[in-house]
């Protein structure tokens, strides 16, 4: 099916199942410990050997010698794989650094060996006996010091490296009110709770991997390419994924090393990356330095907007596209955005939840707050005044839907924004300084080609198969809802099977496109099944009504079980898109409101209340969508207050590489969270009229927290995270 013109009325609009706040269909499995994750395949892959990964102890350089003697002689050791004995390996299209390093070391904790042994304990013990000599090379590890060597990156996922409209310099110079400020965001880690984990098993030249991966198709392709084998010989199974956030978009060392290990020892090998290895071994969200200049008239109309961002990555890597939202969020005739990418020898930078917008809005939405204050305007009203209904860089492109103003107004009313004292540092509650902050949210809506197979059996039961993944997003559930709605059956008549490369290729989970795009692929397949059913039953396709497990037309009614017959019916289809995303700018919008209390003695910030108002098209399941948003808000609080990978600038690695020292929000940090979805459909996005929502929730949250802290204390911090040391010496006198 091709989606080329805006959706009209279709079976999804019945909203009998879609749009309902249903419990997750995989809930009973997940809450009873019965959902099998990658490392938990005792039946499918019995008698595995265990792999333990050895990571490089330098940030850059070479291995000059490696002594495996003692390790090989250790009890239970079956094999040790290194670059020297692994055979010829290529590098995956989605990897920047090699997954098995040596002799050249590209980054700290790059895998250089895997020890395979009979038991986990033996593999772990033997891994300690691998002796390596290095020749360390001088590396580049400090973004601030190499920033000016940054080059214009090539055009990538986040659009062109530079854009310009009008004459920014002239307009900025002429603007009666100006802001010129620089903000920094640190390196951050996905820190999903399930480590990257894989079991690999070979049968002849065919490889099966049970692995934790968001993008089944990419994983198959990159495994095949890395090993130099045919894609057809790789099967990737990823039924449950214990969190990804972008960190499991790619083939990683656990998968490759398990495959190499299993080939060497001729039996299944299982590997989970050790927690303390994960942060430097895998990818992270790169740090940014962002300069924002805003020029406005005295009445608050933005006339000049510039956003420049610097980030770093390994050679061949990509920038953090932190200027993306600034191209779209506010009106203003004279504009400029630019990204520069410097070479760093830190571990590989890559996508983490809302790449680009998440750190970009952490900066932009403080700048907007600062500008509103300079103008003496309420920050909500300032944003509303500068709203735009067209792409400000290409005014001929309207937004498909843009209800940012309604998000802001609804939020202000529900949150009690009128009780905020615009003058900072004025509101006290005992020892606590109280403040409120607001930020806008924008995240683009991407639509991706996605395929599915749908089967109807003789009992009237529907089975959907697609290689889509559920990383906690609710894919199992919204796909089941889509099939049930389209075919007129109840949810318990649908089984959804995901995460297997033998199923039709889906869009995968990334960029908040998964829910809408994969469900649209399932919708396409279900519509094809409807056609097959009417053809087989001789009912009029145009009149047929699918409801209550039956198809009816012209006074005749046939149950789906009967229509299926003994052989059943099976169809496959792909949803593909025309150019509606070119003609229209498709984005999702929101407003975040946050109240904080800052300890007037210690500078410790506690988040008291949070509200997000979201306009993100049709919400396929308000329960799971709400969870996506509160989860993203939680990660946004982490980004605002605590998350920072500390760089050892001399030795070149992230120092706090575990869950004790890389702090993420815990229960005690997060209050009750409110989410409001505006009642919306976007027929330009997809037949489901839905959009993405999983990343919208994090966009702007950090700035809303920062702005609330400013409102509470009068201290403007432009370097995240806002830890108490950045506040304490500037807090108002206590007594």
């Amino acid at each position: 099916m091709k989606f080329e013109t805006p959706a009209t009325t279709n079976p999804i609009d019945q909203l009998k199942v879609v749009g309902q706040p249903l419990d997750r269909v995989d809930g009973p499995l997940k809450t009873t410990g019965k959902a099998p994750y990658a490392y938990e395949q005792h039946e499918a892959a019995p008698n595995p050997a265990y792999g333990y990964v050895v990571g490089a102890a330098i940030g850059k350089g070479r291995i000059s010698s490696m002594d495996l003697g003692q390790a090989k002689a250790a009890p239970g050791v079956l094999a040790i794989i290194t670059a020297e004995n692994a055979g010829k390996l290529d590098k995956g299209d989605h990897n920047t650094a090699k997954l098995l390093g040596g002799p050249e070391i590209q980054h700290y904790h790059q895998a250089i060996a895997v020890v395979v042994a009979e038991t986990f304990e033996q593999a772990r013990s033997a891994a300690q006996l691998v002796r390596v000599k290095y020749e360390a090379a001088k590396g580049s590890f400090d973004l601030a010091s190499v920033k000016d060597s940054g080059k214009k990156p090539k055009e990538g996922f986040g659009g062109p490296p530079e854009t310009a409209v009008g004459d920014f310099d002239k307009a900025f110079a002429a603007a009666p009110v100006q802001l010129d400020a620089t903000y920094t965001t640190p390196d951050q880690s996905h820190a999903m709770i399930e480590p990257h984990a894989t079991i690999a098993a070979w049968e002849g030249d065919k490889l099966t991997i049970w692995t934790s991966n968001q993008m089944v198709g990419w994983g198959v392709g990159d495994m095949a390419k890395t090993l130099g084998i045919q894609k057809e010989n790789v099967r990737l199974i990823s039924p449950f994924i214990g969190g990804g956030f972008g960190g499991k978009l790619f083939l990683r060392a656990d998968a490759l090393l398990a495959a190499l290990g299993a080939r060497a020892v001729k039996r299944p090998v299982k590997i989970a990356l050790q927690r303390a290895l994960m942060i430097n071994n895998t990818t992270h969200r790169p740090a940014t330095i962002q300069r924002i200049r805003l020029g406005a008239t005295k009445d608050g109309q933005l006339s000049a907007i510039a956003h420049e961002s610097w980030s770093g990555d390994l050679p061949g890597g990509e920038p953090e596209t932190a200027v993306s939202q600034t191209r779209l969020l506010y009106a203003g005739a004279n504009r400029l955005t630019a990204m520069r990418l410097a070479e760093l020898d830190l571990p590989e930078g890559n996508a983490m939840r809302a790449p680009g917008e998440a750190p970009g809005m952490m900066a932009l939405e403080i700048a907007v707050d600062e500008m509103a204050e300079k103008l003496g305007m309420d920050p909500v009203e300032f944003r509303i005044l500068n709203d735009t209904q067209v792409d400000p860089e290409k005014p001929e492109r309207p937004f498909s839907q843009r209800r940012l103003i309604e998000c802001l107004r609804t939020g202000a009313e529900k949150f009690g924004w009128d009780k905020r004292n615009a003058k900072p540092g004025q509101t006290r509650e005992g020892r606590w300084l109280m403040g409120m902050g607001v930020a806008a949210a924008l995240r683009n809506n991407l639509v991706m080609k996605s395929a599915a197979r749908v089967k109807l059996d003789k009992s009237g039961h529907i089975t959907v198969e697609t290689d889509m993944t559920d990383i906690g997003t609710g894919s199992y559930t919204v796909i089941a809802q889509t099939a049930a709605e389209t075919l007129g059956v109840s949810l318990d008549k649908v089984t959804v099977r995901l995460g297997d490369s033998t199923f039709p290729v889906s869009c995968g989970s990334g960029g908040q496109w998964g829910g809408n795009s994969s469900s649209s692929g399932v919708y396409a397949a279900c519509m094809k099944l409807r056609a097959a059913i009417t053809l087989k039953t001789g009912l009029s396709a145009t009149e047929a009504i699918f409801a209550d497990g039956k198809v009816s037309a012209g006074g005749r009614s046939v149950s789906l079980a009967e229509a299926a017959g003994d052989k059943g019916l099976e169809v496959e289809d792909t949803m593909e898109y025309g150019d509606l995303d070119k003609k229209f700018q498709q984005s999702t919008f929101g407003a975040h409101y946050v109240e904080v209390a800052v300890d007037s003695f210690t500078g410790e910030t506690r988040v008291r209340r949070m509200l997000a108002v979201c306009a993100a098209g049709r919400i396929l399941n308000p329960k799971t969508a709400r969870s996506q948003v509160i989860g993203a808000m939680t990660m946004g609080v982490g980004a605002a207050l605590m998350e920072e990978l500390k760089v050892d600038k001399k030795r070149g690695f992230f120092v706090n590489h575990d869950l004790a020292s890389y702090e993420v929000p815990v229960h005690a940090d997060i209050p009750h969270q409110e989410v409001i979805f505006l009642d919306e459909t976007d027929p330009i996005s997809s037949p489901l009229k839905a959009k993405g929502v999983g990343e919208l929730g994090i966009c702007g949250v950090g700035a809303a927290v920062a702005n609330a802290i400013y409102n509470a204390t009068g201290v403007r911090v432009r370097d995240y995270p806002i830890t108490l040391d950045k506040l304490i010496d500037q807090l108002p006198a206590v007594a």
Binding site: T32, A74, E121, I193, F245, A276
Partner: protein, 197 residues
């Protein structure tokens, strides 16, 4: 950090690093008997096997999760003799004769524990990987409050701890949820607590 580095942050040591490793010896095996979810289990294990790996790799009870293997995330939380512990931080042989309750022992998809039901109803999870630990902790937390065991935020040690959200949040803070389901988890626990308190 240093302790963590010794344990699982294996990076290859340079030859100039102090040789802290013992000579290679065959593993010591030991017999251990546990009562897991009411069922007697006799195992012969490498003495280095954690309770978590005994459950997951030897008894194939994979509901208890390995998130960090170093006591930082809480995904491996189980109850041993009625108290919750991080099962990655105890060796199986240290638990000779213990009664262990895992997520599988609380309920099944067909017959769920009230806390499991509340998690489903309140959507107190997303990816599901921290969930077993959250639920085991939640069940234990309500027990701890009921028994009058104070926490860091209990204001008056001479009075029974309250059932309010700050007590529960504090006690649950050893269970990380990176999907950020905290607000929903609190709702689930509060619902169950409301039914019991």
């Amino acid at each position: 950090m240093a302790a963590a580095a010794m344990r699982s942050d294996v990076h290859a040591q340079t030859e100039t690093a102090p040789a802290a490793v013992n000579p290679v010896t065959a593993p010591s095996l030991a017999k251990v008997s546990l009562k897991v979810n009411g069922k007697a289990c006799d195992l012969e294990l490498d003495t280095r096997t954690t309770l978590l790996d005994a459950l997951r790799e030897h008894l194939h009870l994979t509901g208890s999760k390995k998130g960090c293997d170093q006591g930082q995330c809480g995904a491996c939380t189980v109850m041993v003799n009625g108290r919750r512990i991080n099962s990655c931080l105890t060796l199986a042989v240290m638990q000779q004769g213990s009664e262990v309750t895992t997520i599988e022992g609380l309920g099944t998809p067909e017959n769920m524990h009230p806390m499991q039901e509340a998690f489903v109803k309140c959507d107190g999870y997303q990816c599901g990987y921290c969930t077993s630990g959250q639920i085991c902790s939640a069940v234990a937390v309500l027990g701890e409050i009921k028994e009058g065991i104070p926490s860091h935020v209990t204001e008056d040690l001479m009075k029974p701890p309250s059932w309010d959200s700050s007590e529960i949040r504090e006690r649950m803070s050893g269970n990380l949820c990176r999907c950020g389901a905290y607000s929903n988890i609190m709702e689930a626990i509060t619902q169950v607590a409301g039914g019991r308190a």
